[in-house]
């Protein structure tokens, strides 16, 4: 049991990061993510961590990547416009297999859009925002408690899979005050590689190499260019490149069962609502006392938990996808349940769908 406190979602996220051992934060203020940064500015010096306000978001993620290679656990937080700027850094972190956490407190876009209003418009950007083939992990909290818990989980996953992990919040979870039980996080141990990096191929096609400590033991070469297992640029060999990219994709794709989590109410009910993040709050309110309607809430949005979607929706007569955009995850669900008629319930403009609206759609 941890201490229970009334916290704003953004602050809960910052506290979760600290509980996970985050000791480096670089960021640039932006509504509705600023409170994360403000809280980190206060808390980092108290816990001997480093806080830097950067000149922009590109610099923020670059500083985080550098800090991780210097031995720190790093996080940055932003919203829409900043998330766009961060994409280049995400690509570099993917290619160099740098574990770090990026929080995107989503607001209405494109561009400066609706600064103070919630949206889920960045879901596909979280998946495909950087160029090239890659796998990614993105988690979607729906409460202040999950802003805490899933930030801790994001740190764990980022270290286990050596990948930038995204926490996809929004203005509603970010700015809502709720009770948070501040559980202690199990510290992930980072095992150092016992030997020098291999000169031959890794044992499995989805192997995650151990993270070397910069400046300790042996020389390390880090490159955003295609590289072989030795770490040196290798832009001539199609075989080496294919092996690298397949591994970057498969280390996530093949581990979906270990990575993904979800919340389930009335599986295979007559109507199943698939949702994630804030709108799931309304679905829970509507569905909790109904027997013929169920909810599958994806806590992990990426990778997509295709098995769970298929398994818990296949008997349903009607499948409804609820999201605060004009249809992003909807197309993914439609792909997975290709034999079914999948309907989209969209709401944009910043307000959460109301229980009445959902009931209206169900009738």
């Amino acid at each position: 049991m941890g201490v229970k406190k009334l916290l704003m979602g953004d602050v809960a996220c910052a506290e979760g990061a600290l509980a996970a051992g985050c000791n480096f934060y670089a960021g640039y203020p932006i509504t509705p993510a600023t409170e994360i940064m403000v809280h980190m500015a206060k808390r980092m010096p108290e816990s001997d961590g480093v806080f830097i306000q950067m000149e922009d978001e590109i610099a923020s993620i670059s500083a985080c990547i550098g800090a991780v290679w210097g031995g720190a656990r790093a996080m940055t937080a932003t919203s829409g416009p900043g998330f766009s700027l961060i994409q280049e850094g995400i690509g570099y972190a993917i290619m160099t297999e740098t574990p770090l956490v990026i929080v995107d407190v989503q607001r209405g876009g494109p561009s400066t859009g609706l600064p103070t209003q919630a949206s889920q418009g960045d879901v596909m950007q979280a998946r495909w925002g950087s160029h090239g083939d890659y796998g990614i992990i993105a988690l979607a909290p729906n409460s202040a408690q999950e802003m805490y818990d899933l930030t801790i989980e994001a740190f764990r996953l980022s270290q286990v899979y050596r990948i930038p992990t995204i926490v996809l919040g929004d203005a509603i979870v970010g700015h809502t005050w709720e009770v948070v039980e501040m559980k202690k996080a199990a510290k992930t141990k980072v095992a150092l590689p016992a030997e020098k990096p291999l000169s031959t191929a890794y044992e499995t096609p989805f192997y995650v190499p151990k993270f070397p400590a910069f400046g300790k033991g042996y020389m390390v070469h880090i490159s955003g260019l295609a590289h072989s297992e030795k770490g040196y640029p290798d832009t001539e060999s199609a075989d080496d490149y294919t092996r690298l990219i397949r591994r970057l994709v498969n280390k996530i794709r093949n581990e979906r069962e270990q990575i993904c989590s979800y919340e389930l109410i009335n599986p295979n009910a007559e109507t199943m609502i698939v949702t994630y993040g804030s709108p799931s709050r309304t679905v829970y309110e509507t569905v909790k006392e109904m027997h013929d309607v169920g909810m599958l809430r994806l806590k992990t949005v990426w990778p997509l938990h295709e098995r769970a979607i298929h398994e818990f929706c296949r008997e349903a007569e009607r499948v409804l996808v609820l999201e605060m955009n004009l249809g992003q995850i909807y197309w993914e669900i439609k792909r997975v349940l290709c034999e079914k008629n999948v309907e989209l319930f969209s709401k944009v403009g910043g307000e959460l769908p109301t229980p009445e609206e959902i009931r209206g759609t169900l009738q």
């Binding site: 229970k4 009334l6 509603i172 809502t176 829970y284 959460l352 229980p355």
Partner: protein, 186 residues
């Protein structure tokens, strides 16, 4: 049981901190609470709204659709939300600031006579305290004591509480005995 409270007024009147105090108090009693807010770009003046949902079970939808208690400290706020009320809603207004129907609590002038006009929000908390159902007036009083070091806020709370209690006796037999209508509560 789910109780939704909406406190609205002008920026600087402390409507959000009043909502936050209620949520803190609920949490200290191991209840579930969600507090949300909306405000304009100005920190003083302009429209501002604080909402709290207090419940003894997990809270899904976090906003207040039809409040059990509506406090209005600004005409614009009253006009905007008066159509959202249900039959059982307890409406509290400051008659010096708002023309309308509801329990009249001269929060600003009461707080001013005690010595701090900024504490009008605390007078309002006192006035609603007998009607909160999941929270006892004494719990709220304790939360205010924990939050503020001065005595003025406690005095403001007590003054509001007196007004609320008197009104409660009159209203108890009638519809304002905020009855939960489960479907309409959200």
């Amino acid at each position: 049981m789910r109780v939704g409270i909406r406190i609205c007024g002008a920026g600087g009147q402390g409507v959000i901190s009043a909502a936050n105090l209620l949520a803190r108090c609920a949490v200290s009693k191991s209840l579930y609470a969600v507090q949300t807010q909306s405000y304009g770009p100005a920190s003083r003046g302009g429209f501002s709204k604080g909402e709290v949902v207090v419940s003894d079970e997990r809270i899904g939808y976090p906003f207040v659709k039809k409040p059990d208690i509506l406090v209005a400290m600004l005409q614009e706020a009253y006009d905007r939300f008066i159509d959202d009320v249900k039959e059982s809603t307890l409406i509290i207004i400051d008659p010096d600031l708002v023309k309308g129907e509801g329990l009249e609590v001269k929060a600003k002038s009461v707080a001013g006579s005690i010595g701090s006009r900024q504490s009008a929000n605390i007078v309002m908390l006192g006035a609603m305290a007998p009607f909160l159902r999941l929270i006892e007036p004494e719990d709220l009083r304790r939360s205010i004591r924990e939050r503020f070091s001065n005595e003025i806020n406690l005095k403001c709370f007590d003054a509001g509480l007196e007004i609320g209690k008197k009104a409660g006796k009159k209203l108890r037999t009638k519809e304002i005995e905020c009855k939960v209508e489960k479907e309409k509560a959200i």
